[in-house]
Structure formats: C-alpha cells, structure tokens
C-alpha cells in the first residue's frame, strides 16, 4: 500500500483515538464515556493493522471492544447509572494539579521516546523497511508469527494466564454473589472451566 496513504490513514486514526480518549475523560454520562472508549479502541485496532499486528487488531476488536466493553456496559445498566448526567469531575484546583501531573508524565514519556532516535524507531511510522518481523510474517502468516513463540517460548506464562482467568472468574463470582439465605455455595468450578480457556 502506498506509504502516503498509510500515513494519512494513521493521522486520521490517531486524531480519532485522542479525541475519543478525551471524550472518555470528559464524557457527561458513563454510557457516553463508554462509547467514546469503544471508538478509541477501534481506532487503536486500526493502527495495529497499519503496524501489521493483524492478530492483535482482531482480538482488540473482539475481546476489548466486544467483550470487555460490553461487560462494562452491563454493569452500568445493572447499576442503573445510565441516567446519571451529572458531571463528576473533581474541583478545578484538583483538576489543574491532575492536569499538571498527567501532562508531566506524558511530557517525560515523549522526552524518553525522543532519546530513542537512531535506534531504528526513528523513521516516522517505521514503514516499510522490510524488517525481520515482516519477513517472518511472510513466512509464518500473521497468526503463525504470534502463535509460534506463544506455544513454545512463552508456553508457561500462557498456561498461567489460563489459571489467572480461572481465578478471576471464581473471584468475580464470589465477590458479586448476593448472599442468599441458607448459604448456597458458589459453583465456580464449572464457570471457571469455560473461562479458563
């Protein structure tokens, strides 16, 4: 694809991502914030595509924008927060200080990234330089390139991740369970079994 076209696409997506992010922070209602968040995630997924991380782009949309955000939405609905249009920003003095701190972090990060000049990350989008990653994508495919190390080098962390998900499911059940009279037990095992994979 044309590099200029890619750059243009990237610029648009970046603007959308930043704008949506600001929308998340300053959105009036939780539902609005959530929808801005989805938009931000979608544009980041687009950037992933440009960076040739196709698999991540796909699960970004499916898992993040799809599953996790819907989970948030459910909770907002469940708690009936959707009609709460009051702005819950902190006071202006606090906000100024917060702005200073977060801006400082952003600034320091930018400054850090500037130091990376000359280490191979300096070229704009870093496209297209036919680097090692591109070659292995050609060789193994977009999925294979991530699956191969995931099931070899990183197989132990990968399995532990499964356990983490199982624990999270059980934990979520225990935490959110209503205390029913008569002390019914939580059957976390069955639900966790699905969640773990």
């Amino acid at each position: 694809m044309d590099i200029d076209l890619l750059s243009t696409a990237y610029s648009i997506l970046a603007v959308v991502a930043v704008g949506s992010a600001l929308g998340v922070v300053f959105g009036r209602s939780p539902v609005a914030s959530l929808l801005f968040m989805v938009s931000s995630l979608a544009s980041i997924a687009g950037i992933f595509v440009i960076l040739e991380a196709h698999f991540l782009a796909a699960i970004q949309v499916m898992v993040y924008a799809g599953a996790i955000m819907v989970l948030f939405l459910f909770v907002i609905m469940l708690l009936n927060l959707g009609h709460d249009y009051q702005q819950d920003l902190k006071g202006w003095a606090w906000s100024m200080v917060a702005l200073f701190v977060s801006g400082g972090i952003g600034g320091v990060l930018v400054q850090r990234f500037l130091d990376l000049r000359g280490t191979g990350l300096s070229l704009g989008l870093g496209l297209p330089n036919g680097n090692a990653l591109d070659r292995s994508i050609e060789e193994l495919g977009a999925l294979g390139v991530i699956a191969e190390p995931l099931y070899t080098t990183y197989v132990v962390p990968f399995e532990i991740t499964g356990i983490l998900l199982l624990v999270a499911i059980v934990g979520a059940l225990v935490l959110a369970k209503r205390n029913v009279e008569g002390g019914g037990t939580v059957d976390g095992g069955a639900a966790g079994g699905e969640g773990g994979r």
């Binding site: 998340v24 819950d88 990060l109 998900l165 999270a168 979520a172």
Partner: protein
C-alpha cells in the same frame, strides 16, 4: 521520533488525567483500560524493531485486562450494593 510512540504517550497521559479527575469508579476503570491500551500501542510499535515478543506481551496484557475487568467490576457491584453509589469520594475503606 516515532509517531506511534508519541500517540501512545499522549493517550497514556489522557488516561492518567481521567483516573485523577473523575470520581465515578467505572469511568476511572475505563481510563485505566485506556492507559493499558496506550502501553499496548507502544509495545506493538517496539515489536516492529525488536521482534514479535512485544506483540506476545500485548496478548498477555489483554488477558490480564480481561481478568482485571471481571474482578474489578465485581468489586464495584459489591460496593454499589453496600453504598448505593460508585462515587469513590463517598467511601474511604482503603486504610488500615
């Protein structure tokens, strides 16, 4: 300077700002997810120079984020049941 890394830094700063200025626990949570995404973005950018490992990490970050969302939202529900609010300013349990 890589444009993607700059975008990542900006998104991270916005996420941080959101965590600091909002009182609604769910929005704070969303902003934390935003921060995680900023990090993901940076990792993907790095992976172009340093190999596939960065993308693997993104994969793990997403998994952890999912687990975190499940447990965190459960906690928020539990808190809401107790206090009838998700305003973090209205409770100060996190001591002792």
């Amino acid at each position: 300077m890589n444009a993607v890394l700059a975008l990542s830094a900006v998104l991270f700063a916005i996420g941080t700002l959101g965590v600091l200025v909002r009182r609604n626990a769910i929005i704070m949570f969303l902003c934390i997810e935003l921060q995680l995404n900023a990090v993901n973005l940076a990792l993907v950018a790095f992976s172009r120079a340093h190999g596939i490992d960065g993308q693997i990490f993104v994969f793990f970050v997403m998994t952890v984020a999912a687990a975190e969302a499940a447990v965190g939202l459960a906690i928020i529900i539990a808190i809401f049941r107790h206090y009838e609010t998700v305003d973090v300013g209205s409770f100060n349990l996190l001591k002792w």
